[in-house]
């Protein structure tokens, strides 16, 4: 009887929230829905069918992710921040007490090691919304490390952000380019860096492609997705970096959109999806102390071999990871983790500089180097994890009013 009543309440709650998806602030309704600890598929799906397309897909993806990921799905942690001119380091320490996640502000200014002072008053908000506010207040970007999120001051801070259950997408640098051909056409492109940070406690091992499903300029005119400008290597999405977050905690997918008119000034709406990958099947290879060149381990899918060891001026421990079957294209999408434990250091160091070089998958690990070219730390053990199968979950994101301050 009680269970039935609860279900009825839940059903009403879901129905009420779903109806709000048509309101002026659909994101708030979606956030409220996703905060519910249970989303009964049989109730949500019929109701979601009436929601706008973007949120309908987002809800379906959310249901699928919950089913596939179970406990690894990020918690909807909520926090409260009350800070009046408090150094940001103290604010972050307070947040750590509420959420259990290590948060650090990296301050380059020796005179103010605790970072700039911030004024914030946030009551019972999602953790990553609070982190986004801290980024805006300190003009910093969040970088996800092995066990912490670090905030580093960069540029003028985010233009806009999207926070959702352990993920924060910030829109950072935006450039506007207009190309006029004499006697020919005029084309305009907006280039945008999206910056991803996530709760490192999640077992996330990689990202997949980013897709833009809807974009509009400040006059509400639709913007088409444009190919990345040619000849600008820095601006091209790096498929390796996108495929493997271990390679770059600062993975910054690039998005290019066409300006619809010469009078376009900013982006008012950007909706899209980013594929996130969680481990489903992993090959793990372990090497003992001071591995020797040529040592290898393999299972039925992959082989990991020590291709080079540091010493005599050679700075790298180089591990070659080779698929025993499958295509190179598949391997490009396979996240690989490398960690090295050094004698005398308490925690293993995680690396990921994997590159597919000339058709050969090679993963290189930079070892600690002394000025004389010798490694001051002895290697105690090396672990290579190849995530041969992953669950993919699509994070539906929405950014609004990318104007900056």
């Amino acid at each position: 009887m009680i269970a039935a009543a609860l279900l009825l309440v839940l059903q009403d709650d879901v129905a009420s929230l779903l109806s709000r998806l048509d309101s002026k602030d659909p994101k708030a309704a979606f956030d409220a829905i996703s905060r519910l600890s249970e989303l009964p598929r049989e109730k949500v799906e019929p109701a979601a069918a009436k929601a706008p397309a973007f949120y309908r897909r987002a809800l379906v993806a959310e249901l699928a992710a919950r089913a596939a990921l179970g406990e690894s799905f990020g918690p909807a942690t909520r926090v409260t921040v009350r800070a009046a001119d408090v150094p940001v380091a103290e604010v972050l320490e307070g947040l750590r007490g509420q959420c259990g996640l290590k948060l650090e502000f990296v301050e380059m200014d020796d005179e103010h090691p605790s970072g700039p002072k911030v004024k914030l008053s946030l009551e019972d908000v999602p953790l990553f919304d609070a982190l986004a506010e801290i980024c805006a207040a300190t003009q910093s970007r969040p970088y996800t490390g092995t066990d912490a999120i670090q905030f580093i001051r960069e540029g003028a801070g985010p233009l806009a952000h999207f926070a959702y259950r352990g993920f924060l997408i910030t829109a950072c640098d935006m450039s506007s380019t207009w190309k006029v051909q004499f006697g020919g056409e005029t084309t305009g492109t907006a280039g945008l860096s999206l910056h991803l940070a996530w709760d490192p406690r999640q077992k996330l091992v990689g990202t997949g492609p980013i897709e833009i499903v809807e974009a509009a300029d400040d006059r509400a005119r639709a913007m088409a997705v444009a190919p990345a400008p040619l000849g600008d290597s820095d601006a091209k999405p790096d498929p390796d970096a996108l495929a493997n977050l271990w390679q770059g905690a600062d993975a910054q997918p690039q998005v290019y959109l066409r300006w619809p008119g010469r009078d376009s000034r900013s982006i008012s709406l950007l909706r899209g999806t980013l594929a996130l990958r969680y481990p489903a099947a992993t090959s793990t290879f372990e090497f003992g102390a001071n591995p020797k060149e040529g040592e290898s381990r393999k299972d039925d899918g992959y082989e990991a071999a020590v291709a080079a060891v540091p010493g005599a001026g050679q700075p790298l421990l180089k591990i070659r990871v080779k698929p025993l079957a499958g295509t190179l294209a598949e391997f490009r999408e396979t996240p690989v983790e490398l960690s090295v434990r050094y004698k005398g250091l308490p925690e293993p160091q995680h690396y990921g500089a994997g590159r597919v070089e000339e058709g050969v998958p090679v993963y290189s690990v930079g070892a600690y180097m002394g000025e004389d070219g010798e490694t001051p730390f002895e290697i105690e053990s090396v672990v290579v994890k190849v995530h041969r199968r992953t669950h993919e979950r699509k994070l539906h994101f929405e950014l609004r009013d990318l104007k900056g301050k």
């Binding site: 935006m174 450039s175 380019t177 006029v180 004499f182 006697g183 900056g404």
Partner: protein, 424 residues
């Protein structure tokens, strides 16, 4: 169909009076002008000297004959006229003979017109799979570049552009680009790109174009000097820090490089006004350098066994860091230090050559490995690290690595003025 070309302009001169009577006329004119050289009116004397110089190479025998008889100030002036004529003749040789085209085609397939233009002009034109169309075009004694542009315009759906190794005619709507042609050289702009950060207004305005020259008339270096760059809202795009000297290319480093053209770019760091419709002013000049003669600055004997040695010549210091020769392949890495902040080198055009024991001289491919600028308390110095690679025609004994620099350089100026370029 009728296609014809009057060919090089010099041919027109050949069609003039017969040799001996022409020589007599020139000799008379030379004597008359030399008489005016003695005028006490300075302006008249100057004009006579200019007129002598303009007579060109045909006047040289008569001038040399008069030089034997002259003395004092008159002799000096005749020497000056001879020097100006020989220098001009050398410059004409280096710049190549003007490629002038005359043609008339009525309803002729465009590929046929281009093939004839290619054959008659001797220019490296590339075209294929162009949209079939019969064109009607008439060009009378026009420089090659204007003739080529006229053919594309007549078709309407093809366009030309210069590449490193030739001229490409390709499918695409014809666009009337701002272009200036002087002799064998053309300067044109394709368009511009404005890139800026959002929010804010930091960015660059980039005018993109090319300098084109006919085959065998390649300058050793070139630069764009922008005099005025201003939009119709009176925004001056040039600043004190960026007064408008835009280096377009430096050909001396790359002897096997650009055959008929190179990029010409103008960057500005002040952006046009958001509401501006056009560039009210875009003017300046293209400066081209033609090397009339080179001189040896220094020579490193037996370079393969001279690693680490330092050599000086003129204002240059060269440190040979590495050198090797295996079979036909030779390499050398060296540091060149010279006064100034780099730009001077752009027009200096020094280069290196391996000289074999039989006297053969071989130019390398050059890769810049980095440039640094230092100040020794008195003046700026630039140090460039260069990697030189040779593919020798055959295995040969190397005598020396020579550094050469231009001894006599003539600068040719091509002014440009393109008011009203669209900004939108």
């Amino acid at each position: 169909m009728r296609l014809s070309s009057l060919g090089p302009l010099v041919l027109i001169l050949v069609l003039g009076p017969s040799g001996s009577s022409q020589d007599d006329d020139v000799a008379k004119r030379v004597r008359a002008l030399i008489a005016e050289l003695r005028s006490e009116e300075l302006q008249a004397a100057e004009e006579a000297l200019d007129a002598l110089a303009k007579l060109g190479s045909p006047a040289l025998p008569a001038l040399r004959a008069e030089l034997e008889k002259a003395a004092g100030d008159t002799r000096l002036k005749i020497e000056s006229a001879i020097k100006r004529i020989t220098r001009r003749a050398k410059l004409d040789e280096v710049m190549g003979r003007p490629v002038i085209v005359t043609m008339s085609a009525t309803s002729v397939p465009v590929e046929g017109v281009l093939a004839d233009l290619q054959k008659q002009s001797g220019q490296p034109l590339t075209f294929k799979d162009l949209p079939f169309k019969r064109v009607t075009v008439a060009v009378d004694k026009q420089p090659f570049w204007e003739a080529l542009d006229a053919v594309c315009k007549a078709h309407g759906e093809i366009m030309w552009r210069v590449q490193r190794d030739g001229v490409l005619v390709e499918k695409g709507p014809y666009r009337a680009r701002p272009m200036v042609v002087q002799g064998n050289v053309a300067l044109y702009f394709d368009g511009h790109t404005t890139s800026k950060t959002v929010p804010g207004n930091d960015g660059t305005f980039w005018l993109e174009g090319a300098v084109a020259w006919t085959r065998a008339s390649r300058p050793s270096a070139g630069a764009l000097a922008v005099a005025k760059l201003e939009d119709d809202k009176a925004t001056n795009l040039l600043t004190d820090e960026d007064p408008g000297d835009h280096w377009s290319w430096e050909a001396g480093q790359d002897p096997d490089g650009a055959v008929v053209g190179s990029a010409a770019e103008i960057y500005a760091y002040v952006l046009p006004h958001d509401e501006a419709e056009k560039l009210a002013h875009c003017s300046g000049s293209l400066r081209l350098s033609y090397v009339l003669s080179m001189k040896k600055i220094l020579a490193v004997k037996d370079p393969a066994n001279s690693k680490g040695t330092v050599h000086t010549g003129g204002t240059y210091t060269v440190q040979l860091q590495d050198a090797s020769a295996v079979g036909r392949d030779a390499t050398a890495t060296l540091q060149v230090t010279y006064p100034g902040e780099g730009e001077e080198r752009m027009l200096a055009g020094f280069h290196f050559a391996l000289v074999d024991t039989a006297g053969g001289s071989h130019r390398p491919r050059v890769e810049s490995q980095g440039t640094s600028v230092s100040h020794d308390g008195k003046s700026m110095h630039t140090t460039e690290t260069l990697l030189l690679r040779w593919k020798l025609p055959e295995k040969c004994a190397i005598a020396s690595l020579d550094m050469l620099a231009p001894d006599d350089v003539e600068e040719v100026t091509v002014p440009f003025n393109f008011p009203g370029l669209p900004l939108r």
